[in-house]
Symmetry: C2
Subunit: 187 residues, 2 copies
Amino acid sequence: MSSKPKQRPDTRELLLKAAIKEFSEKGFEKARISDIVASAGYSQRTFYIYFESKDAIFKELLTEWEKRLANKFDIEDEKDYKQNILNRWIQIIEFMAQDPEYSKAVYFKSPYFEETRQHIFEHLMGILIKEQSHGFLRTSVAVEILAESILSGIEGIAYRHVINKKETDIPKLAEQMVDIYIYGVGI
Amino acid sequence: MSSKPKQRPDTRELLLKAAIKEFSEKGFEKARISDIVASAGYSQRTFYIYFESKDAIFKELLTEWEKRLANKFDIEDEKDYKQNILNRWIQIIEFMAQDPEYSKAVYFKSPYFEETRQHIFEHLMGILIKEQSHGFLRTSVAVEILAESILSGIEGIAYRHVINKKETDIPKLAEQMVDIYIYGVGI
């Protein structure tokens, strides 16, 4: 049996929510536990019942975010390749958009950005290599460069168009990008 | 006639060089004039003969970088569209690679990143709109999305592959990217 005091089920959630707000507004370095607990209406003592440190609460948010994002990549319907990648892109951009503060805090403004991005990059590489071996991508396409380009493109669209400019027609944005990648820009 | 003391022609250059090093290592916020002058072998007094402030020396470096980059975008040879954009991409990535500390300092790690990026984005948009009107791009391509995607892609390749991973075959990297954009990935 745990020696920890009984936890009200929502305390933990409220602290996580307040942490997202604090991290997205101030960035990890300047974020303070005292401000997180103040905005959630708790004491510092309560914070330490649930989390060991500022780094620990951040890592918990990040791990959850990464897990949810990975699910969005794994959509599959190999019958229609274009529809398949379109669905994947819509899901990924919508995921980033649906809680923009969360994505800003643990990804775009995160001190672990390059590390997290590397995980996503490797996940995407795995998918693309499989797709190329299944004949959905030309064999002459350099998969590493494609992965870099797709990931950068999704980041750019998600961060600038959806999170910052609040464009809401994500299916259209995704379709425009996917169209360029599949057919190229040449006439 | 200027009331400023006679300037040794290289003092200014040496201070600018030392500033690039300081900004790229510590970032703008943590960079210190005292460390810039120490590494260049001058006194703070000398610094202020040439520059008004930390912000002023940074802005001077940034303005020069933006001007040089803009020149790389303006390469033109409309006879062969693929060769034309390939040359442009090679020039841009080589420019960022040839002095990686400089590009890191005033662009990738800059506090003015989004502002500078917006200038580059608008410049690129102008070029693409012209290319589309000249029939080099399919009319169905969403130019704003293409610009976002190209700029993100060039940043990703330049920053991760060339600046960080020190890959040196830039023409090959550029060719692989341009191939994807022109022809698409579909088989």
